[in-house]
Amino acid sequence: MNSTLKTLPDENGFFVPAVPGGHPSGRRCRDVKNFSRKFFGGSPGDGHGTQLNQGYGGRYVAETLMPLIGEIEAAYDAARVDPAFQERLNELRRDYVGRATPLYFAERLTEHFGGAQIYLKREDLNHTGAHKINNALGQALLAQRMGRQRLIAETGAGMHGVAVATVAARLGLGCVVYMGATDIERQQPNVQRMRLLGAEIVPVHSGTATLKDAMNEALRDWVTNVDDTFYIIGTVAGPAPYPRMVRDFQAVIGIETRAQLLTARGRLPDTLIACVGGGSNAMGLFHAFLDDAVVMVGVEAAGEGLESGRHAASLNGGSPGILHGNRTYLLQDDDGQIRDAHSISAGLDYPGIGPEHAHLHDSGRASYVAVTDDEALEAVGLCCRLEGILPALESSHALHHAGRLAARQEADQTIVVCLSGRGDKDMDTITRHLMPEEVES
């Protein structure tokens, strides 16, 4: 293990140094008769499935994008150490986004579970209602610095789309948001909001019409409009340098949390918990603590249950592969086709995960659990009634696990949960599930 985990990835965008023998990438190809059997009929675990001994991450994109991505990396590395850029970012974070967000002691949730002390990092109190704006703001400032006039983004729950549309308006840049047709239906308020902010929404009908398809379509736009367009990826995935860049912009979550808990309690937390779609709020919370003795837990969406096959848990139910420019864990079939993800929360409905999480998972530095749709809904109700806070369905996955864990721990333990967003956008879904009688009347 590196002396500090915080310096990853390496210069090629990989989150693990080359490992001889590679990573176990899982099972054999599907067996198809005669000739095929000779090559494709090997037994599971025979080593033929291990390739590309390069760790997770990388830059697996079409040639058209390669030079451009190199430019973004160079521009980002210059901006990162430019005091003027940082000052502008910090000023907008404070005055526009409303940072620092509170670290809130959830007294009644703590009482309810009767164990560890539960703190909520209130990313829901950010302007636009989620952590997504931390990243959108950072990348939009970079786009502006690079002279790009047109921002594009993919969005699932719509929170990243709203964040990008918002900063585009603020900075006077054009904005096109790709959104799966399925998600447009279940996140209507956010769609209207983005339009009001002046963004163009492009419905995506291909594939499963959710987040991964929106990302494919955004990549197609980008490859077509390389000259004036900046693609703001909404999570810690995509080709290098995106996973690192998005993590750095989100790292403010953990940096604040660290200082806030030290001030309030004079100590570091014992456990950090965050939901994981692509993994940006989780990496944002974890990053400042990577070298400390702090337990980190990412919570994936188990959908209708891991055994049902209808879930979005890439680490708990997937295997390594290459999608959207990076090598990471994916939901895929035996032939390497990407499988549909399923989650009640649009923001977690993605068949991949950021490569740094894949690395933290394999190295054992962080652990990853899964929470079902029903369990997340239960947490929504509990948090509303006990704390007067309506959490996003995504964040509720983390809340549920926090409750589970707190109940098993003693009162001298502290847990910090990233409350990544507010649940206003989910009212339709929540009402249908928790108060069906309201829908009928």
Binding site: E11, N12, S25, G26, R28, C29, R30, D31, V32, K33, F35, S36, K38, F39, F40, G42, H48, G49, T50, Q51, L52, Q54, G58, R59, Y60, V61, A62, E63, T64, M66, P67, G70, E71, E73, A74, S206, G207, K212, D213, M215, N216, L219, R220, V223, T224, N225, V226, D227, P320, G321, I322, L323, G325, L330, Q332, D334, D335, G336, Q337, I338
Partner: protein, 289 residues
Amino acid sequence: MNALSSKTETLKTETQNHVSPNTDSRLARRFAALRVEDRAALVTYVMAGDPDPATSRDLLARLPAAGADVIELGMPFSDPMADGVAIQRAGQRALAKGQTLARTLEMVRDFRRRDDDTPVVLMGYLNPLQRCGEDRFLQAAAEAGVDGLILVDLPPEHGAALTAKARDLGLARIPLVAPTTPPGRLPALLAQGDGFVYRIAFNGVTGSRRSDIAASLGESLIELKRQSPLPVAVGFGVRDGDTAATVARIADAVVVGSALVERLAETGVEGALTLTRKLAESIQGARRG
């Protein structure tokens, strides 16, 4: 950027140590014959298994007689991020009918029983290959009679190992060169390339409808030729005989994909073959006019 360029340096030295490009391959023989004829090659792209295995097999078998000099066979992938709707849909149709990587190779093997001359190049994305296992896939492809690979999402920065293995098996790694590719990147791309170079006509996905296709192309083809002895194919956006002829005057090969895939979807195998014949005729006459 520094990291990128320093990586490029090491790539260059790494790949220079490998065996020199294969001169006695189906691709080399085909391009040599065409040079004698002073004619550009017609490279036809079809998706393996589209719209179903039997139809796809039939089309593949009849393409050479209709005038295809080189065949690009698409390996369907669920998330083809560099393809436009025509090829996206073709891939979905194929997958819906049960197409797999193994079946695609099976198709090539079947084709080879009757045609040992027409080069077949597989085009697609990395993940299915990775899932299968790179070594196993390359072995199987070589044994099936595949001549080369076009891997959309494998840049030279990550491609050295695969290229070396492919070369050992006599499989050409056909590099994609884009309009955005700066001259400084060409050596790294070409060092891992053989068979031919695939010059993407403009920034975008496959199947885009652009009329200005060959306008700015000439100069960059000259630069490519200066840096590489390989034949240069131009693709993306060639939809009809006129464009094909224009490209055939300045490039060694013309790639037609989406137009053919669309024609297949609309009018079946006969329609696709009719278009192939028309394109072949236009290319044949291109340098005589």
